[in-house]
């Protein structure tokens, strides 16, 4: 059976300036192209987006051309419920993608926060070999200037990347929707929602010590291409 990679994008969030959104377009293009380079053949890719209503809103011609022949799930700007809690926006995209896809044809589904550089196929190869219900992680981060940052280990799992058996991912999407609908304030982050789902349902999981992902956390100092904002985990 095949596997499915769901890549979640928020290309032009309305809370960011035009300049920042223009740079995000460039970054998404680079990251999605690299994702495809390392993605094993057993994976289909679906790109999910929740900040644009039509392709005319994308300024970067190369990104527009790239996305034109990609399978996409598009929620439109009204679907971006993640302006203050962006993980919730991704969870709504997850639920929508699952509802619009023939999920039974896939053995495993990988959840991918797409504005990251995948340095190698390691996490996808682990997904192909997955025996238990889920493949999760909570890695620390090492910045390219050498700083080490330990991640919080208190009641959360990293959700930049994780994989689940298809049925488990469907259960998780429904669990997350139930949480959002019954908690209008949504005080939990998506990483805590993932942790609670895994532990309250006794989901058996395999663990990733490191992801092999590079992230540009430019919001640290608002400088878009500053090496001190890049880190791997």
């Amino acid at each position: 059976m095949k596997n499915l990679a769901l890549a979640f994008c928020s290309i032009r969030p309305q809370q960011f300036s035009e300049n920042v959104c223009d740079h995000r377009e460039q970054e998404y293009l680079v990251c999605l192209q690299q994702l495809e380079r390392v993605l094993p053949e057993s994976f289909d890719l679906i790109v999910c987006e929740n900040t644009i209503d039509s392709e005319d809103q994308i300024k970067n011609k190369n990104l527009k051309i790239y996305l034109a022949d990609k399978e996409m799930v598009v929620l439109g700007r009204d679907g971006n419920i993640g302006t203050s809690n962006k993980g919730m926006g991704e969870l709504l995209m997850l639920k929508t993608a699952i509802d619009q896809t023939d999920i039974d044809t896939y053995e495993n589904i990988s959840y991918i926060s797409a504005r990251k550089l995948y340095t190698c196929p390691y996490v996808f190869e682990r997904t192909e070999k997955l025996k238990k219900q889920a493949l999760i992680s909570n890695p620390d981060a090492v910045f390219l200037d050498g700083k080490f940052s330990e991640s919080s280990k208190d009641g959360l799992y990293n959700d930049m990347f994780f994989s689940m058996k298809s049925k488990t991912m469907i259960d998780y999407a429904n669990y997350a929707m139930d949480y959002m609908q019954s908690n209008s304030l949504q005080q939990l982050g998506s990483e805590q929602v993932l942790y609670n789902f895994i532990n309250s349902n006794n989901i058996l999981y395999e663990w990733l010590n490191w992801l092999g992902i590079i992230r540009n956390d430019w919001e640290r100092n608002q400088s878009i291409f500053d090496v001190s904002n890049f880190h791997f985990c």
Binding site: Q34, R37, V38, L117, T119, C120, P121, Y122, L144, D145, G212, I214, F225, D226, V227, S228, F230, F232
Partner: protein, 81 residues
């Protein structure tokens, strides 16, 4: 005595030393040397499509334009492979 798997890298080290001793000018690079060793000796190998390594290649650009590349932590010099 069992032949350990590490014997291949021992053979490679000896192959490289022999090349260095016999070729004082050393016109080929270490990457070519590795290629020649594997091909000439029909070494069975597995393949890595990507390494997952980040390299900061600041040194190579210094020769071209020191003023622009003298910052060792310049994001333009980092690449993955």
């Amino acid at each position: 005595m069992l032949k350990r798997n590490t014997s291949v890298i021992v053979d490679y080290a000896n192959y490289a030393m022999k090349y260095i001793e016999e070729n004082p000018v050393q016109t080929i690079g270490s990457e070519q040397l590795l290629y020649n060793f594997v091909v000439e000796n029909n070494i069975d190998y597995e393949w890595l499509t990507w390494l997952g390594i980040i390299r900061n290649d600041w040194l190579s650009t210094i020769h071209n334009n020191w003023e622009e590349s003298k910052t060792i932590l310049n994001v333009d010099n980092f690449y993955i492979c």
